[in-house]
C-alpha cells in the first residue's frame, strides 16, 4: 500500500512534474502561438488602418484635386508652373461715360475726371484724367447738362485695397469767360462686373470766413481745394472742411473683371 501509495505519490509527483514540464512546454508553445496570433492580428489591424488612412488620404487628395480642377482660388494658386505666373495680377477693364448732370444755378459746366487708385494698382491702358467740353443747358431740356464724355481704362493689381475711385471736379464758365469751381464728387468703380449707373452727389467748399467769401465774389472765384484729388480720395483730413451740396451727376460704368477668381475673389453671383 505504502509502495503503491509511494508509487502513486511518486507517479503523481512524476505526473505532476511531467504535467509541470508539459505545462511549461505547452505554455511556452501556447504563448508563442498566441503571440504570433496577436502579431498577425496587429499586422492585420495595421494593414486595415493603413488602408483606411490611405483611403482618407486618397479621398482628400481626390477632393483637393477635384477642387483644383474645378477652379483655383486663394492658396490653391498654381506656383511655378509654366502655364501661369505665380501671384498673377487681376485686371479690371472699365469703360463708360459721364452722361449728364444737374447742378443748381450753374450753366456752362465742364467736368474733369481723375482716376485714383492705391499703390499696388497700375493703369495699363487709357487716360488717367480727362477734361470734357463746356456744356450749356438747352431750351428743351432745361434742367440737365449733357456731356456724354467717355472714358476707358484698364487696371491691373495684386491687391484689392486701394480700389480705384473716380474723382470729379466741376467748373463753370461765367459771363466774363472765367472758370470757377462749382463742385467736387467721388465714387468708387463698381466691384461687380456688368453695367452700372451711379448717381454722384456733388458738393462745393464754403469759404472759411465771410470776408474771403466777399472777396471771392468780387474776384469771381469760389473757394476751392488746393489738392482735391488727394483730399477726396482719402478719408483722412477732411474734418476741417465745410461744404454745401450742389447737385447730382449721372455716370455709367461698364466693368469687366479678369483673373479675379484665381485670386480667390468671386465678385459675380454665380
Amino acid at each position: 500500500m505504502a509502495d503503491y501509495n509511494q508509487d502513486g505519490e511518486q507517479e503523481f509527483q512524476f505526473q505532476q512534474e511531467n504535467d509541470g514540464v508539459n505545462n511549461q512546454f505547452f505554455d511556452h508553445g501556447l504563448g508563442n502561438f498566441e503571440k504570433t496570433r496577436e502579431r498577425e492580428q496587429e499586422e492585420l489591424e495595421r494593414q486595415i488602418r493603413a488602408e483606411q488612412t490611405q483611403k482618407q488620404v486618397d479621398y482628400h487628395k481626390s477632393s483637393q484635386e477635384m477642387r483644383d480642377k474645378t477652379r483655383t482660388g486663394g492658396n490653391y494658386l498654381p506656383i511655378k508652373t509654366n502655364l501661369k505666373q505665380a501671384y498673377s495680377p487681376f485686371h479690371i477693364f472699365v469703360s463708360g461715360h459721364i452722361e449728364s448732370g444737374q447742378i443748381n444755378d450753374y450753366d456752362g459746366l465742364c467736368c474733369k475726371y481723375d482716376f485714383v487708385a492705391g499703390t499696388d494698382w497700375q493703369i495699363i491702358d487709357g487716360n488717367r484724367s480727362g477734361v470734357s467740353q463746356h456744356s450749356y443747358k438747352s431750351q428743351q431740356t432745361n434742367r440737365r447738362v449733357v456731356w456724354n464724355y467717355p472714358f476707358e481704362l484698364a487696371f491691373s493689381s495684386t491687391n484689392v485695397t486701394g480700389w480705384p475711385q473716380l474723382v470729379l471736379t466741376m467748373t463753370n464758365r461765367d459771363f466774363f469767360g472765367r472758370d470757377q469751381i462749382c463742385g467736387y464728387g467721388t465714387v468708387h468703380i463698381p466691384t461687380q462686373p456688368g453695367s452700372h449707373y451711379r448717381y454722384l452727389n456733388v458738393f462745393q467748399p464754403i469759404s472759411s470766413s465771410l470776408l474771403s467769401q466777399v472777396f471771392g465774389w468780387f474776384k469771381g472765384k469760389n473757394a476751392e481745394f488746393i489738392n482735391p484729388i488727394e483730399l477726396l480720395s482719402k478719408n483722412e483730413g477732411r474734418e476741417v472742411t465745410r461744404v454745401i451740396s450742389t447737385g447730382v451727376i449721372k455716370i455709367q460704368f461698364h466693368v469687366t473683371v479678369k483673373n479675379m477668381d484665381e485670386y480667390g475673389i468671386f465678385p459675380f453671383k454665380a
Binding site: N75, I206, S245, I265
Partner: protein, 184 residues
C-alpha cells in the same frame, strides 16, 4: 480645410444724410467700426469723420466720404458694424451730438445701398425745452446702449431723426473654400 483665413473687403462711401431736423446748420458724421475679437482690421483706422456739410434745397447733406475696410476674419461671430454718430455745427460754432445709429455691414458679396435710420435720446420737458430754446438735445454718455448692453435700451426714451445713406460693396476672398455662406 483651407490653410488660410478668409478675407473681406468693404469698399464704399458714406453718401449723405437726409430728413435731419436742421435747415441752417451743418452736419458731420463720425462712424466707427465695431467688430468681434476674431476679426482683424488691416492698415486703417477704425474711426472716420466726414466733412461738415450744409444741405441743398431738398435737405440732402452730401458727405461723399469713401472708405476701404479690409478685414481678416477667423470667426464669423462679431460681424462688423458701423456705429454712427451725427454731429451738428450750428451758426455760433457749437457742436452737438444730435443723432445715433448702428448698421450692420452686409454679409454677402455684391453692391448695396444701405440706409441707417437714426434716433436721439429724449428725456423730460426740461431738456426738451432747453433743446427748443438753446439748442442741444440730450446726449448719451457712452455708446454702450447702442452697441453692447442692449438690455439697457429699455431705460431710454428716444425721438426719431433723419437717416444716413451708405453705399457699400463687398468682396469676399476664401469664403467658398471655408464653406461660409455669402459668396455664392
Amino acid at each position: 480645410m483651407a490653410d488660410y483665413k478668409p478675407e473681406i473687403y468693404f469698399i464704399g462711401q458714406i453718401v449723405g444724410g437726409s430728413d435731419f431736423p436742421t435747415d441752417l446748420d451743418g452736419l458731420f458724421v463720425e462712424a466707427s467700426l465695431k467688430y468681434g475679437e476674431n476679426w482683424k482690421l488691416i492698415e486703417k483706422t477704425s474711426t472716420i469723420q466726414t466733412h461738415t456739410s450744409y444741405p441743398d434745397d431738398e435737405g440732402f447733406f452730401v458727405f461723399a466720404h469713401p472708405f476701404d475696410f479690409y478685414f481678416i476674419c477667423e470667426s464669423v461671430q462679431g460681424w462688423p458694424k458701423l456705429n454712427i454718430k451725427v454731429w451738428r455745427l450750428d451758426q455760433y460754432g457749437k457742436l452737438d451730438n444730435i443723432a445715433y445709429g448702428i448698421i450692420n455691414l452686409p454679409n454677402e458679396t455684391g453692391s448695396f445701398d444701405l440706409e441707417c435710420p437714426t434716433w436721439r435720446p429724449m428725456s423730460g420737458w426740461r431738456e426738451e425745452s432747453y433743446n427748443y430754446y438753446l439748442g442741444g438735445p440730450p446726449k448719451l454718455v457712452n455708446s454702450d446702449p447702442i452697441v453692447r448692453d442692449l438690455n439697457k435700451r429699455r431705460f431710454l426714451t428716444s425721438m426719431s431723426s433723419g437717416s444716413i445713406h451708405i453705399h457699400c460693396e463687398v468682396l469676399m476672398k476664401g469664403y467658398r473654400d471655408s464653406f461660409i455662406s455669402g459668396d455664392q
